[in-house]
């Protein structure tokens, strides 16, 4: 499955990129799986997803939890808790 990934705030700074498109193996089913898979991609990813409990995710512009399925996702974003306003 090919999916677009976006990173914001310190997740972006740590991965060193704002977005990328990746091909995922079928074993990656949930947001949690995806974070674990990303973490194994290199030291930048390991640093970015080290404290994955603190990272929030959105699938196709909607907030999701770590246990949400990524099936049919076109765009998945990772970011720290929001701090606008």
């Amino acid at each position: 499955m090919s999916v677009k990934l976006l990173y914001f705030a310190w997740v972006r700074e740590k991965t060193g990129l704002g977005e990328e498109t990746v091909d995922l193996p079928g074993s990656v089913q949930t947001v949690s799986d995806l974070m674990a898979w990303l973490k194994a991609r290199g030291p930048e990813y390991e640093a970015a997803f080290d404290k994955s409990d603190f990272i929030r995710a959105a699938i196709d512009h909607t907030h999701v939890t770590h246990s949400t399925s990524i099936d049919k996702a076109r765009e998945i974003a990772f970011f720290p808790p929001v701090t606008g306003g």
């Binding site: 907030h63 970011f79 306003g85």
Partner: protein, 155 residues
């Protein structure tokens, strides 16, 4: 109405636009969030707001719709800026208009509480020690919870 923009806004002009020609409004509440020169005792020279274009619009619209469904509003507006801002500058504006004051106050607080915890914005503060991403505050999550337990105010 929602707007996400880099440029500043004019609070007085936005209120005038929202109420223009209306005689059914009895109460208008505005909230303006501004950049402070200190945070946790540190001086701040400027602040940068990053956001998630596409999702931000969607979230703000969703939040505004929830407020409109919950309170009898004659009008509402959310403007949120992104980019770099200096202390004293505007960050966010919320306006709510209703026949009565309680609905206008509650809807404005509700919009701000949801905005603080759901809208995809991230603040980075620049000071003498370099840039620091602002941590989310537990008090903002707590503020949100009251809307889940509280009865509808408009009833």
């Amino acid at each position: 109405m929602i707007r996400i923009q880099q440029e500043d806004f004019d609070i007085g002009a936005e209120i005038s636009k929202l109420r223009s020609g209306r005689t059914d409004i009895g109460a208008i509440v505005t909230f303006t969030g501004t950049v402070r020169d200190t945070a946790q005792g540190e001086c701040i020279s400027e602040m940068t707001l990053e956001h998630y274009p596409g999702m931000t619009e969607k979230e703000l619209q969703r939040i505004e719709q929830q407020a409109t469904a919950r309170w009898p509003l004659q009008g509402s507006l959310i403007i949120h800026r992104y980019g770099t801002m200096k202390p004293g500058e505007n960050i966010v504006l919320v306006i709510t208009a209703s026949a009565h004051r309680q609905a206008a106050f509650e809807a404005a607080e509700f919009l701000m509480d949801y905005l603080k915890t759901k809208a995809p914005f991230w603040k980075k503060e620049d000071g003498p020690d370099g840039g620091t991403w602002v941590d989310a505050r537990d008090s903002d999550d707590d503020a949100l919870k009251r809307w889940e337990t509280r009865r509808k105010a408009a009833e």
